[in-house]
């Protein structure tokens, strides 16, 4: 109870604040390195890095306001803000500004923001509130469905806004719920399905067959005692193997060959930056000219930028690919290329370590709370960060489909930076009152 007597300033978690600031500064420098020309002046208000700096200022200002707010405010108003957020998302579907085919932006005068980004905050607070309610029993199926509903309603609305990538972020709340008591199988099945889908797309069919079979063999050898004694595990293992094979060897080729149209297949493969394999290539039959897809081009350019960085990188302001606009969406979705190209593997690894440290620190913070509300909220923040981080960097190196989600703190963009800042500052505010029971 001694820490309660200290002032708020001493109760703030310095590590999170430090990592947050570091990442934002790295982001501003990355945007700067992409935009700066040797002939330009350092301060140019029309450049993105200056705008980002201004957004950082606003974020800090907002952070101060949040820090001065009572911590009980967030839990008390969690459902209210969630409801308001849902309302705004619905409004956006109809009143949204059309940006590149998606209606996920809301314009008020010259100011534009993406409610989908901000809705993550409300959803996190709402989930935290719901799971920490004394009457909630997360072991019952009913409450589990309610929690899933809270998480997926915004996602559904965002899909209706035609911004699928952003909606996928809401899947990360399953990880939070797993922490709070969802069965292990959910996690295992979830990850297995993702792994299987990615592997089917990324790895050659015949190679995958061998990998799956060998994998099953290894598992069988490891579990040989269990398998010898009872027959159920044998059937279980065989059926898993069979389902995997069925999916990757029969179902996917069948769907690709007979169900999906040419442009669907191209879209799927271009999202992971690969060319359509010959067996699914319907252009061959039609005898049409093959033309590069924009996402495919993005990923190729992104790989060129990152791959050309080498171990030590080309040096600050020497990124030839990023500086000269070869990588599209340079400042936003593909900002990681700037780091990869200019600072190489070394710099990228340090950046990854910074991110992982931040996420682990947030989990640590979550686990040291007295109140479940703050704990669940911490996990929400960590998982949102994780999803953004993992998917964004994976898509720049061609490991995941290009689904247009930002790299937290680094990507240029007011909505993104503000919403992540707010997430972090609410966390810091709640953590400052970790000895208080917040309901």
């Amino acid at each position: 109870m001694s820490s309660l007597r200290k002032s708020l300033f001493y109760r703030i978690d310095g590590v999170v604040l430090l990592l947050y600031t570091l990442l934002v500064i790295v982001g501003i420098l990355a945007v700067f390195s992409v935009e700066h020309r040797a002939s330009d002046a350092l301060i140019m208000m029309n450049k993105s890095y200056m705008k980002q700096l201004v957004w950082f200022g606003y974020s800090l200002l907002f952070g101060m306001v949040i820090l001065l707010t009572d911590s009980k405010f967030f839990s008390s108003f969690a459902f209210l803000t969630y409801t308001a957020g849902i309302a705004v998302l619905i409004i956006t579907i109809f009143a949204g500004v059309d940006v590149k085919g998606s209606r996920s932006w809301l314009g008020i005068g010259s100011f534009r923001f993406q409610p989908g980004e901000v809705a993550k905050i409300f959803t996190s607070l709402a989930i935290a509130k719901f799971l920490s309610l004394p009457e909630t029993n997360f072991k019952t199926l009913k409450h589990r469905f309610i929690a899933v509903g809270i998480a997926l309603t915004p996602a559904l609305l965002i899909i209706l806004q035609n911004e699928t990538g952003l909606a996928l972020v809401y899947l990360c709340f399953f990880l939070v719920m797993y922490r709070e008591g969802l069965p292990n199988t959910v996690l295992v099945i979830g990850f297995s399905v993702i792994a299987l889908v990615l592997a089917t797309l990324l790895i050659d069919r015949k190679v995958l067959f061998v990998v799956l079979t060998v994998g099953m063999g290894i598992v069988a050898v490891l579990m040989r005692n269990t398998l010898r004694r009872r027959w159920e595990p044998r059937v279980f293992l065989l059926s898993i193997w069979f389902v995997c094979i069925l999916f990757s060897q029969v179902a996917v080729p069948f769907v690709f060959k007979h169900v999906l149209k040419k442009h669907h297949i191209e879209r799927i493969y271009s999202m992971i930056g690969k060319e359509v394999p010959d067996e699914y290539d319907k252009t061959m039959v039609a005898g049409e000219e093959k033309k590069g897809n924009s996402s495919e081009y993005n990923v190729l350019q992104s790989k060129i930028a990152i791959g050309s960085g080498g171990f030590w990188g080309k040096g600050f302001l020497n990124g030839t690919s990023t500086k000269n606009q070869f990588v599209p969406e340079q400042n936003t979705d593909f900002i990681f290329c700037a780091i990869g190209e200019q600072f190489g593997f070394f710099g990228s690894a340090i950046l990854l370590i910074l991110y992982v440290s931040l996420m682990l620190r947030i989990i640590y913070i979550g686990e040291r709370q007295r109140s479940a509300f703050t704990r669940v909220y911490s996990y929400c923040v960590a998982c949102i960060l994780f999803f953004h981080f993992a998917v964004n960097i994976s898509m720049t190196v061609g490991l995941a489909p290009v689904i247009g989600i930002t790299l937290p703190f680094l990507s240029y963009g007011g909505s993104s930076l503000m919403s992540f800042s707010i997430l972090i500052f609410i966390l810091i505010r709640l953590d400052a009152d970790r000895q208080v029971l917040i309901r």
Binding site: I306, G307, S308, G310, S348, L352, C383, S394
Partner: protein, 672 residues
């Protein structure tokens, strides 16, 4: 706290670390093992810009610029920056083009390049277009003038010496010399521009620039540390006297022929004219190809450098050499005389001499001064039949060796390309020509500069240097210093003194004295200049043209060789004017005017009428054009006939093939 023991926090942490590790592993392979991305990144983003340094200037002996660079402009357009309200009508008016042309050019620009990149709209604008555009430039956003260097010939003279440059052709690129050139580079095509190409062009600079995805060059790559700086071309200082050159070209106007003047003490060429001359400024810029074709088609062939490429029978101008060799071998002595009464009759048919009066060939001095044909035919025979040599073959060989040493019959090695070598017949040549059946009478004409002998005007002038210097010469050359350095290794070979004739000075003195008499009391009395001791020899060379197989005797070539002053010679000169008549009438006055102009800087009032007469004389005969068109028609006829033969051969082959096919078809049809 119970929650602290929850194992799932570790599972989630493990997932975070695991996924991050997978990404890290992927990055590790991507950034350290896949080198193709580095190559690709450089390919797409680095632009190699070649910077051409200014070509070296060429200066005359007094430091006057003869050839340098000037700036012209290309008009560039960035279609993206051209406003929608662009006034096309006014623009077309300024450039003096019509709207259709404008649209055609714009279409070409837009199909070749994306609209944010600058493309060339019109190359090498005329001065008028440039001036008009610059006045109105503020109205034409998106358009810009870009500088470009081209060569500038200061006073439209000496084109044949300076040469010209042009774009290197694909055939040239295959040769070793042009290994470092690329398509579109400029290189010397003739004259000094070709000979000193490596010196004049300097060294190209390569600048590495980053470019963006629109292919627009941006910042220097890596701050420019990989760049190599361009090195300007070096300047050439010539021996050529620009004033004398211009004066000589003026004297030679409306004549076909050439003038070569050499400083005997250095071998430096003071003047080289091949008339008719052309304005070298025609052979640059965007009209080069058109003008070249025009000059090439001209009947008088101005592109043909007669001073080094044309070979003439030297006529009487060979006589000092004939005498020199006769004296040197000991076949005659200076007091040897011959009684000539207008013809030489020792060899069956009479050889005509211009003089009939008795005693005009009483000794060597008189014979040379009066240019007695009989005398020199005779001493030539005496020389080659000289008892010291075993046979006439050996004698001809000795004579050939002497002339070779003087520089006849071989390239002098002057520093402009495509030099002709002329011909000095040796015994093998005569054996071949007369089937071993010849004697001194068969070849007697050579002694008076006719027959099988032929020389270039440059060789004639170089021969004069030899006599002026009493036995030595420097290889004739133009360049005094390269980049202000007179000891450049390229100039080594021109600084070597060639002492080739082992003849005592007294013998030279005899010949020089006789040549002095030529001007003072002999055939070239009109070439006399007060206050300058000129040694000279006139020549009137008979010549024939072969037109459509018929041999036609043409008007004589007017020839003149000279050097002055006799002691401490400063200029040796050879003038050849085709089909003009007597050497004393035309070539001699022109040479003496040039000598006077060079040694005294001006021509005295007394000689102005001669100067006027020479400048205004029109000595190009009409039949030059006739012969030219006849020979061109002949060439065209030959070409047409060859093509016709080829066509007939082709069609015959096709017809044969048709016949075979027809037969085969018939056979098939019959079977059915």
């Amino acid at each position: 706290m119970a929650a602290a023991q929850n194992p799932r926090q570790y599972i989630i942490s493990f997932i975070f670390i695991g996924v991050a590790s997978v990404i890290l592993l992927r990055l590790f392979f991507l950034q350290n093992f896949e080198s193709k991305y580095k190559v690709l990144a450089n390919d797409i983003a680095i632009y190699k810009k070649v910077v051409y340094p200014p070509r070296g200037a060429i200066l005359d002996r007094k430091g006057k610029v003869m050839l340098s660079n000037t700036t012209i402009y290309d008009l560039m357009v960035t279609p993206h920056n051209v406003p929608k309200t662009f006034d096309t009508t006014q623009f077309c008016e300024v450039l003096d083009i019509d709207r259709a042309t404008y649209l055609k050019i714009m279409e070409r620009v837009l199909t070749r390049n994306i609209d944010v990149r600058q493309s060339s709209f019109m190359e090498q604008l005329s001065q008028e277009q440039t001036a008009k555009f610059q006045e109105n430039a503020y109205m034409f956003a998106g358009y810009e003038l870009v500088e470009r260097n081209i060569r500038a010939y200061e006073n439209a003279s000496a084109g044949i010496v300076l040469g010209y440059i042009g774009e290197v052709s694909p055939e040239m690129l295959k040769r070793q010399r042009y290994a470092s050139y690329r398509q579109g580079d400029y290189t010397g095509f003739s004259g000094l521009e070709l000979e000193y190409e490596e010196v004049l062009r300097g060294q190209r600079g390569v600048h590495y620039l980053e470019r963006d995805k629109f292919n627009r060059p941006r910042d220097p790559y890596k701050g420019g540390i990989l760049d190599s700086q361009e090195v300007s071309g070096r300047q050439l200082d010539l021996y050529l006297d620009a004033d004398l050159q211009a004066y000589a070209e003026k004297l030679m106007q409306n004549k076909i022929g050439s003038v070569v003047a050499i400083d005997p003490q250095t071998g430096g060429i003071l003047t080289m004219v091949s008339s008719p001359t052309y304005d070298p400024n025609l052979l640059r810029g965007r009209d080069r190809a058109k003008n070249y074709a025009m000059l090439y088609r001209t009947a008088t062939r101005p592109l043909f450098n007669r001073a080094i490429q044309a070979t003439y029978q030297p006529g009487s101008t060979i006589k000092p050499m004939t005498g020199l060799i006769g004296l040197a071998t000991g076949a005659i002595n200076p007091h040897f005389g011959l009684a000539c009464y207008g013809s030489y009759n020792y060899c069956g048919r009479p050889i005509k001499c211009e003089h009939k009066d008795a005693g005009h060939a009483a000794n060597f001095r008189l014979a040379l001064a009066h240019s007695c044909n009989s005398y020199f035919c005779h001493i030539f025979r005496l020389t080659i039949d000289y008892s010291k040599f075993e046979s006439v073959k050996a004698g001809v060989q000795v004579w050939h060796d002497y002339l070779s040493a003087i520089g006849f019959g071989r390239q002098t090695g002057v520093d402009i390309p495509f030099e002709g070598s002329g011909r000095v017949p040796d015994s093998a040549y005569y054996d071949n020509r007369y089937h071993f059946n010849w004697n001194s009478c068969t070849v007697v004409f050579v002694g008076m500069g006719q027959g099988e002998l032929s020389v270039t005007p440059l060789q004639m002038a170089n021969g004069m240097c030899m006599i002026a210097n009493k036995g030595w010469y420097y290889t004739p050359h133009f360049v005094k210093a390269i980049g202000k350095n007179a000891d450049d290794s390229l100039l080594k070979k021109y600084q070597e003194k060639h002492t080739v004739l082992n003849i005592p000075d007294t013998t030279f003195s005899v010949v020089q004295q006789a040549m002095q008499d030529v001007v003072e009391s002999g055939t070239a009395i009109g070439a006399k200049v007060d206050g300058i001791t000129i040694c000279a020899k006139t020549g009137t060379a008979e010549n024939k043209a072969i037109v459509n197989g018929a041999v036609i005797k043409m008007e004589n070539h007017s020839m003149f060789v000279a050097f002055a002053p006799r002691d401490n010679p400063k200029i040796a000169i050879a003038v050849a004017i085709e089909n003009a008549g007597f050497g004393a009438t035309w070539a001699a006055p022109i040479a003496s005017l040039l000598i006077e102009r060079y040694l005294k800087d001006s021509v005295t009032v007394k000689r102005k009428p001669i100067e006027d007469k020479m400048m205004n004389a029109r000595l190009i005969n009409k039949y030059v054009y006739t012969i030219d068109s006849v020979s061109r028609l002949h060439d065209a006829e030959v070409y047409r006939a060859r093509m016709e033969r080829k066509r007939i051969a082709d069609s015959t082959r096709d017809a044969n093939a048709d016949v075979v096919l027809q037969r085969w078809l018939n056979k098939k049809l019959r079977k059915k």
